[in-house]
Amino acid sequence: MDLTLRIWRQPRHDTPGDFVSYQVTGVPEEASFLEMLDLLNEQLSERGEEPVVFESDCREGICGTCGLMIDGRPHGPWGNTATCQLHMRAYADGDEITIEPWRATGFPVIKDLAVDRSAFDRIIEAGGYISTPTGAAPDANLIPVDKATADRAFEAAACIGCGACVAACPNGAAQLFAGAKVAQLNMLPQGQPERYQRAANVVDTMEAFFGSCTNHGECQAACPKDISIDFIAWLNRDYRKAKLSGRQAG
């Protein structure tokens, strides 16, 4: 199929950007969305034009680097699908597709469609881990966790850090990401020793970069991993307890 792409081009983070229209020809319908962009870049290179910068790594929906705003929908038209797993059979010959980077103050554009998500790394550094002595791997199931809790924590742990929640949020808030990262640990026994410290540090770091949740639920609708806004409530509760009980790092 042949497509018209309206792509955001921005040479540098501190220069203004704009849309440029491109024709991409001969796209097979079994190609993924990113393979279609690869094809475009080949065709641009052949013509001596500068290829479009976009990010990807795993191309199987687990690394979270590939997020794009596609026709006004984070990760495109398919629900619970990362951009790399969106396939061109979602489109028909002659379609026009608008492709934009995530837009939020916490995610400045680096170039074209690539944004800087290092603010997420700062949030992880603030509390997205447990402190544990390394050594031989402990035996499996040494610490019993009931099935319901394990399943719930696993739902939160499915977050791939793609940033679609921030991109979708009218307030540029990152509460779904932060909620998932806090809940996946705070629900489990291994997360208990640092539970309230974690909630306080993650939230305080998050607020240095991102906005405040107004409970609209756009993040949940945009999330490729179907993370629930219940985890936002979870985060809000642990933060409240951390502050009211003084159980936080100084």
């Binding site: 026709d71 934009e100 103050t105 916490g106 991102f210 107004t214 609708a221 409530a233 933060y239 502050k243």
Partner: protein, 251 residues
């Protein structure tokens, strides 16, 4: 739709947060954070919700006639006597309401500003929202409408400002209310403002559970119904009064 984007001023590639400066006092530390402001918005919202509900139930005495409503007004002024002086309960309520309104509005303004900055100046050329509803989108507008209405409502029935309610007389509560609601412009303002309040509560009475972190698989599915029920009760219950006067059922 505009698509121009002002470039960010921060260096890209390795963003660093400013050092977190926590405050010693629990309350100032809570208020420093956006989550803390949301707790206070939710709590002040609950205080206002409780007031709005009780205020409405009391005002339904309008349907029982002049004597009933006016006696209720006197009773409110003498509530708690002799332990509490005359007007004591009324003034205590007023102080709580002023505080709740103040906190709610200031937090709303600060968070709105924070969110505008966090969203940034870059706008999507195309954006299809998938979840947000009309009530959620218009919270800031319905909030401002309710805030302005409160000023009008006080001028109309509490202070008796001449050009708002020319027939107003102190403690003639029933006559004052009927005079106000008989005026179609005034009745219209009451109806519109309470419709706005209903919308505000449709989102707010649900949102407060999320903000406070009151969340459990046992009751989560009730939160939406609670908000719908509360919003409809308040909107319909309040709007029924000006409508009753306008159609001649009361007055």
């Amino acid at each position: 739709m505009t698509t121009s984007s002002t470039p960010p001023s921060r260096p890209v590639g390795n963003q660093q947060p400013p050092k977190i400066e926590r405050r010693g006092n629990v309350l100032t530390e809570l208020y420093r954070s956006a989550l803390g402001k949301k707790y206070l918005m939710a709590i002040s919202g609950i205080v206002l919700m409780a007031y709005v509900l009780i205020h409405m139930i009391g005002n339904w005495k309008l349907f029982e006639g002049e004597a009933s409503l006016n006696e209720y007004a006197i009773w409110l002024r003498e509530l708690g006597e002799p332990l509490i002086p005359e007007y004591g309960a009324i003034w205590a309520t007023r102080v709580i309401l002023i505080l709740a309104f103040g906190v709610h509005i200031i937090a709303a303004a600060q968070l709105t500003r924070m969110n505008q900055l966090a969203r940034g100046s870059g706008r999507y050329a195309e954006r299809h929202y998938a979840a947000v509803d009309f009530a959620g989108r218009t919270m800031r507008w319905t909030g401002v409408i309710v805030g302005l209405f409160v000023v009008f409502h006080l001028a109309d029935l509490t202070w008796g400002v001449q050009w708002v309610n020319p027939q107003w007389e102190y403690l003639e509560v029933y006559d004052n209310v009927v005079a106000s609601f008989a005026n179609p412009v005034s009745a219209g303002i009451y109806i519109l403002a309470n419709a706005a309040l209903g919308l505000h509560l449709y989102h707010g009475a649900w949102s407060l559970f999320q903000s406070m972190g009151w969340n459990s698989p046992r009751f989560n599915h009730w939160r939406r119904w609670f908000a719908i029920g509360f919003a409809v009760l308040i909107a319909v219950g309040n709007i029924s009064m000006p409508v009753a006067v306008q159609v001649g059922l009361v007055g």
